[in-house]
């Protein structure tokens, strides 16, 4: 098989603690995308982090493939977003075919004026490589390869882990343990924690092929195509002229047999036609489950990504939701570690991300049930929808070949302060923020780049600057050491010029902020460090802001 990628080999170094017992404040297990993201996030906030991985390279095979807009925004906050976007294949359009006919197409980014596209396709090993580049630039983040956790003793206030290496074992007393060691999580099993849900009796073949083809960078999905009757097929473009093809095989297929090139190559030729020359790069046969742990928290151990929840691949909700886990956990953990918030805040990690996991499981299960109907009547409805979809828009909207990853609206979170005044639009408390083009002292940029890693108050100035007294009060506001940073969003340069020099001012270049946030003169938004809305007001007072900040941090 051909290779477009050289797998790096990371050096194992004998840890100084062999045969000893020492302690660490924060340990992350698993250097996949989610473990890496969590480690980088905590380290760039100033925590000393130890990251353990039982392997010594990045993901083998392309595996996780699609990174959605929200994941890219999180990666931007971690300093890896641009690398991913530059290397990846950006796409917004998906097409769905039934037999030979196109029945439905969607555009993931129908709204203009967001920095990031709907989706980037990139082999998982590149994402890990880019996150590692960031990790290696952080002196307070230590990575230990081929260090495997083989025992865990969890207690209320800390845990003791035993780590196995080629040179022997060592023990660490860990105050905060983050587990991102994947679907078959070793730590989860060591703790005997259950993960429950539904197993799907179906097998899928993944083939990564290298070829020069002039297909557009779009997601193509077939129901029952002539080249692979009665099953589904998915085609995606990745970086380096690699194409991902995903064939549904059915439950009775023999995985070992199906992986053989002499079996795979004719399938691909039947699909692409003889005129396309290609080389096989990677082949795998997989099954999947939709399930989650009852709680993502066990004393002071936190589960993130696939270790905590798994979904079917239809919808790209695996790695994307894992990155959102780390985005949600890191700021809360940092506040608790620093003594700025009570440990209770961490319960909201479980509350918010279990809610999101249920939404992801629901959507990916629905897609799977549509793609692979489980009964004759279910198949009859599915085929009727596909048939009507050629002519009728209502049926097109029911075609479900994967509802692609979008972040959850955490509208039920206990950290939100409910609205007291009427607002329209989507930016409700708990919403992941919409982006908007802004300018900062003449520099064109994006709103989300300016609102990360801290609690921020956005003050909208339509005709005149916000009152000086309010700005002074916001700057002076402190709750258990947590401050607020005000930023004015000015409707135009004239209003911006009238603002005092002591506050950051962004100009709402295309009035997208005004439109998306239903902003009027004086409207204020309190924004969390993970770019979610905590509260909003038409006429903000510092008392209301203080109360909302307290609520968002469990203080």
């Amino acid at each position: 098989m051909l290779s477009t990628y050289r797998y790096p080999k990371f050096e194992y170094r004998c840890p100084a603690e062999i045969g000893q017992r020492s302690s660490r404040r924060v340990v992350v297990v698993g250097a996949g995308p989610v473990g890496l993201a969590t480690a980088v996030d905590l380290a760039q906030q100033g925590c000393d982090v130890l990251l353990l991985d039982d392997d010594n390279t990045v993901s083998v095979g392309s595996r996780g493939l699609c990174y959605a807009k929200r994941a890219l925004e999180i990666l931007d906050r971690l300093g890896a977003g641009q690398m991913v976007v530059d290397k990846g294949v950006s796409w917004n359009v998906g097409r769905t075919f039934n037999r030979n006919d196109e029945v439905y197409s969607f555009n993931l980014s129908p709204e203009p004026d967001h920095e990031r596209p709907g989706m980037i396709n990139l082999q998982q090993y590149y994402l890990e490589e880019f996150l590692l580049k960031r990790a290696n630039a952080l002196p307070n983040l230590e990575i230990r390869w081929q260090n495997k956790v083989v025992a865990v003793d969890a207690r209320e206030a800390d845990s003791t882990i035993t780590v196995e290496t080629a040179d022997g074992n060592y023990m660490l007393d860990v105050e905060w343990l983050i587990v991102g060691d994947g679907a078959r999580s070793g730590v989860r099993r060591l703790l005997g924690l259950d993960i429950e849900g539904r197993v799907f009796q179906d097998r899928f073949l993944i083939a990564d092929v290298v070829m020069k083809a002039d297909f557009p960078a779009e997601r193509w999905f077939w129901f029952d195509p002539p080249f692979h009757p009665n099953q589904s097929v998915l085609l995606h473009r990745e970086a380096d002229n690699v194409w991902r093809i995903d064939f549904q095989l059915g439950w009775d297929a023999d995985p070992e047999e199906e992986k053989k090139p002499e079996k795979v190559i004719p399938r691909i030729k039947a699909m692409l036609g003889e005129q396309h020359e290609f080389d096989l790069e990677w082949v795998s046969v997989y099954t999947f489950q939709c399930r989650r742990m009852k709680s993502f928290r066990h004393h002071r151990i936190f589960f993130v990504g696939d270790a905590a929840h798994q979904v079917s691949p239809f919808g790209a909700r695996g790695a994307n939701s894992g990155l959102q886990d780390s985005d949600n956990l890191a700021w809360k953990l940092k506040l608790v570690i620093d003594g700025h918030a009570p440990e209770r805040l961490l319960e909201s990690y479980n509350e918010e991300r279990a809610y999101a996991a249920d939404e992801n499981i629901m959507n990916s299960t629905r897609s799977t049930d549509f793609i692979t109907p489980k009964s004759a009547v279910s198949k009859l409805f599915r085929n009727s929808v596909l048939d009507l979809a050629r002519q009728y828009r209502f049926a097109r909207a029911l075609v479900n070949s994967g509802r692609l990853s979008v972040p959850s609206f955490l509208y039920m979170s206990s950290l939100n302060t409910p609205d007291q005044e009427p607002f329209s639009g989507k930016m409700i408390p708990g919403a992941p923020m919409d982006d908007a083009p802004v300018s900062d002292q003449g520099q064109h940029g994006w709103l989300l780049r300016h609102v990360a890693n801290q609690f921020i108050v956005l003050l909208y100035a339509d005709r005149e600057p916000p009152a000086d007294a309010l700005i002074t009060d916001i700057k002076a506001c402190r709750i258990r050491g947590i401050g607020l940073t005000p930023i004015v969003i000015a409707a135009n340069a004239t209003v911006a010029a009238a603002c005092t020099d002591s506050i950051k001012v962004l100009i709402d270049l295309k009035s997208r902020f005004k439109e998306r946030y239903d902003a009027e003169q004086g409207t204020a938004y309190l924004v969390r460090p993970d770019q979610h809305i905590a509260a909003r007001w038409r006429k903000p007072t510092v008392d209301a802001l203080r109360a909302a900040l307290a609520r968002a941090t469990c203080n």
């Binding site: 629905r366 009547v377 279910s378 929808v385 479900n400 979008v406």
Partner: protein, 77 residues
């Protein structure tokens, strides 16, 4: 009012954040209604569903239009 063939599912009981959600909620509920039934029972259930929904719609102009479109999609004239 003619027969609606644009997407028309709505959920008044919970907030809707994604356009596809009400339609997907409907579809899941429909398939779940058939769970555990034999093919003959499913066939009967579908017939009874048509009767309930037809009575609810009531307007014979709409119903005749739906019958015509459905038949044409099965047996093009």
């Amino acid at each position: 009012m003619p027969l609606i063939t644009e997407p028309n599912f709505k959920d008044l009981e919970k907030p809707v954040f994604r356009e596809f959600s009400p339609g997907d909620d409907f579809y899941e509920a429909l398939i779940q209604t058939h769970e555990g039934l034999t093919d003959a029972q499913s066939h009967e259930l579908n017939a009874k569903l048509v009767l309930f929904l037809s009575n609810h719609i009531g307007d014979l102009r709409i119903l005749r239009e739906a019958f015509r479109l459905a038949r044409e999609s099965v047996m093009p004239s």
